[in-house]
């Protein structure tokens, strides 16, 4: 008997971003615009709260669903910032990152053989996560001419009406696209008409720059069919703490917790202490970081315009998604890396609809960002 990957593992190809990562890692002195996490460290008060909790010896498991004090704060925060009302006892589950929550939803709320519509380009874990859970994937490629928004038209033409559930992320990684309340309402109508569950990844909800984020769960008839995912990684710059949460009606949270209690027991305790402090005392930092991203966003979009690079005005997260001037975006990204030592990620790494584009992350200090833009400009000349 030897170790062979199980079929469900074998059926998932290695991440498209992997090869590019290996290439970039071998090179010194690169400026990377290929990073999907904040360049800021976690707010100091949150870090200090984590340290203090360790000093007090608070190193045991917590309740499966997460510390109640944390769930209460999450409920208050979501009510105040996104107009979402969830009961901390029955409707919130604290997870090890939003990614764990999504994985739980795939496995706990859908059956093998069910199908899920995945709005793409998207975060790299959705398709593999669904595949591991034995769920059939229906690709829903969004379009450049729609500024990568999810529309009724692409949902209909991709056959999403036959799906059991829909998963998307807005504000979007990798495109930086956002959805207005009106645009979200038409997606909601489609989901109600076709009786789809919705897994709404709202991890970038606090990073919008042109209009407020609208959670689909706030729209009529949607709360009962939606699981909302959020966490502390992006807005609070706490990626390494691995802390997220899922919000949904009690029966969904119960089912997800059934897996979570056996596979994870509870989300990291130290991180939960940091997160409580983050919600209590670090909101000004979130506002300040968002203001910095917004300036960089304007800078990058203006520079692309000056270079003659086509890019829609991405209004969320910390990504711009310009059209690649070459036919082959991977080749472009590789040459840019080798000749100018600037890393960007070809859109194909994020699934259907991403081809012909580049993900440019502006979660990078302004000095590096300026230098990177100058290098891209000289590369294009």
């Amino acid at each position: 008997m030897t170790f062979e990957p199980a079929d469900r593992v074998d059926s998932v190809p290695p991440s498209g971003i992997r090869r590019f990562f290996e290439l970039a890692e071998e090179m010194d002195d690169i400026i990377s615009l290929g990073v999907g996490e904040p360049d800021f460290s976690a707010p100091w008060a949150a870090r200090e709260a984590a340290i203090a909790s360790l000093e007090r010896g608070q190193t045991s498991y917590t309740a499966n669903r997460g510390k109640r004090e944390l769930r209460e704060r999450i409920a208050d925060y979501e009510a105040a910032t996104h107009n979402l009302q969830y009961d901390p006892d029955e409707e919130i589950l604290v997870t090890a990152g939003a990614s764990e929550g999504l994985d739980l939803a795939f496995r706990a709320l859908l059956n093998p053989g069910d199908s899920i519509a995945i709005a793409q380009p998207c975060y790299v874990s959705y398709v593999p996560g669904a595949t591991f859970a034995g769920i059939d994937v229906i690709d829903v490629p969004t379009r450049a001419e729609d500024e990568f928004k999810l529309t009724r038209e692409v949902l209909e033409s991709s056959g999403a009406a036959d799906a059991d559930a829909l998963v998307y992320c807005y504000p979007n990684n990798p495109t930086g696209a956002t959805m207005t309340a009106e645009e979200m309402a038409s997606v909601a109508a489609f989901c109600r008409e076709n009786d789809l569950l919705v897994f709404a990844d709202e991890i970038y909800a606090d990073l919008t720059y042109e209009h407020e984020h609208t959670s689909i769960a706030t729209l009529p008839g949607m709360r009962e069919r939606t699981v909302v995912f959020n966490g502390f990684s992006k807005a609070f710059a706490m990626t390494g703490f691995r802390l997220g949460y899922a919000m949904a009606p009690p029966e969904a949270i119960q089912a997800m917790n059934r897996i979570h209690q056996y596979s994870m027991l509870s989300a990291p305790t130290t991180a939960q202490h940091a997160a409580m402090e983050a919600l209590d005392n670090c909101r000004d930092e979130v506002t300040e970081m968002a203001a910095q991203y917004d300036r960089r966003r304007k800078y990058v979009l203006t520079r692309f315009e000056e270079m003659g690079l086509d890019c829609f005005p991405a209004a969320g997260a910390f990504y711009a998604f310009p059209e690649c001037p070459w036919d082959d975006a991977s080749e472009f990204a590789e040459s840019l890396l080798q000749e100018e030592r600037v890393a960007v990620v070809p859109g194909t790494a994020f699934g259907e609809g991403g081809s012909g584009h580049l993900r440019v992350s502006y979660a990078t200090g302004l000095d590096d960002l300026k230098e990177a833009m100058a290098r891209i400009e000289s590369f294009l000349d």
Binding site: S15, I17, F20, F21, A24, E25, I30, S32, G34, V35, G36, E37, D39, S41, Y123, V124, S125, N173, A291, R295, R296, K298, Y299, T302, R303, A343, V345, A349, F350, L366, K370
Partner: protein
């Protein structure tokens, strides 16, 4: 929409931002940025532009000695805080002067080429001012953060170079 305040914030963050870059970072055009900065300067809102220097990193023969000095004063009918501050602020050795609440009245920052020079300045020029009743001098031994800028924040960028 950007506000004029944002231009102040950007200049406080880095006074060497060009007007072109500030325009790219905000919703203003380059000529609007130049105009707003002119207005800030004329209104005395922006008083100047200075480098933040970490003197520990400067070659030793160019060392600067800095001290903060607590000053206690007595006032009378003819003499106000403003009168006293006028006399003190005129000395080029004084780099900042603030009236503060608490145990003493003025908080003074002084700079010189040596400890001796700074001591002499305090004893010869400041202490003899008639309204001054007491001075307490604290030499700055190490500076960790100046004007919001941490000299070594130890927050290394340890992110993977490419991540999803």
């Amino acid at each position: 929409m950007s506000s004029r305040r944002e231009i102040l914030d950007l200049l406080r963050e880095n006074a060497r931002h060009t007007t072109e870059d500030i325009a790219r970072l905000t919703d203003y055009s380059e000529s609007e940025v130049a105009e707003i900065i002119d207005e800030f300067e004329e209104a005395g809102i922006i008083r100047g532009y200075q480098a933040v220097v970490d003197w520990n990193a400067v070659e030793s023969d160019e060392e600067r000695v800095r001290a903060t000095v607590e000053l206690n004063v007595t006032l009378d009918r003819e003499t106000s805080y403003d009168d006293i501050s006028d006399r003190i602020a005129k000395f080029p050795e004084v780099t900042s002067l603030r009236l503060v609440s608490g145990d003493y009245d003025f908080d003074l920052e002084v700079e010189g080429d040596s400890m001796r020079e700074v001591s002499h300045f305090i004893s010869d020029k400041i202490a003899p001012i008639p309204e001054i009743t007491q001075t307490v001098t604290h030499y700055i031994m190490e500076s960790y953060k100046e004007q919001g800028m941490e000299f070594d924040d130890h927050d290394d960028d340890d992110r993977l170079s490419v991540s999803p």
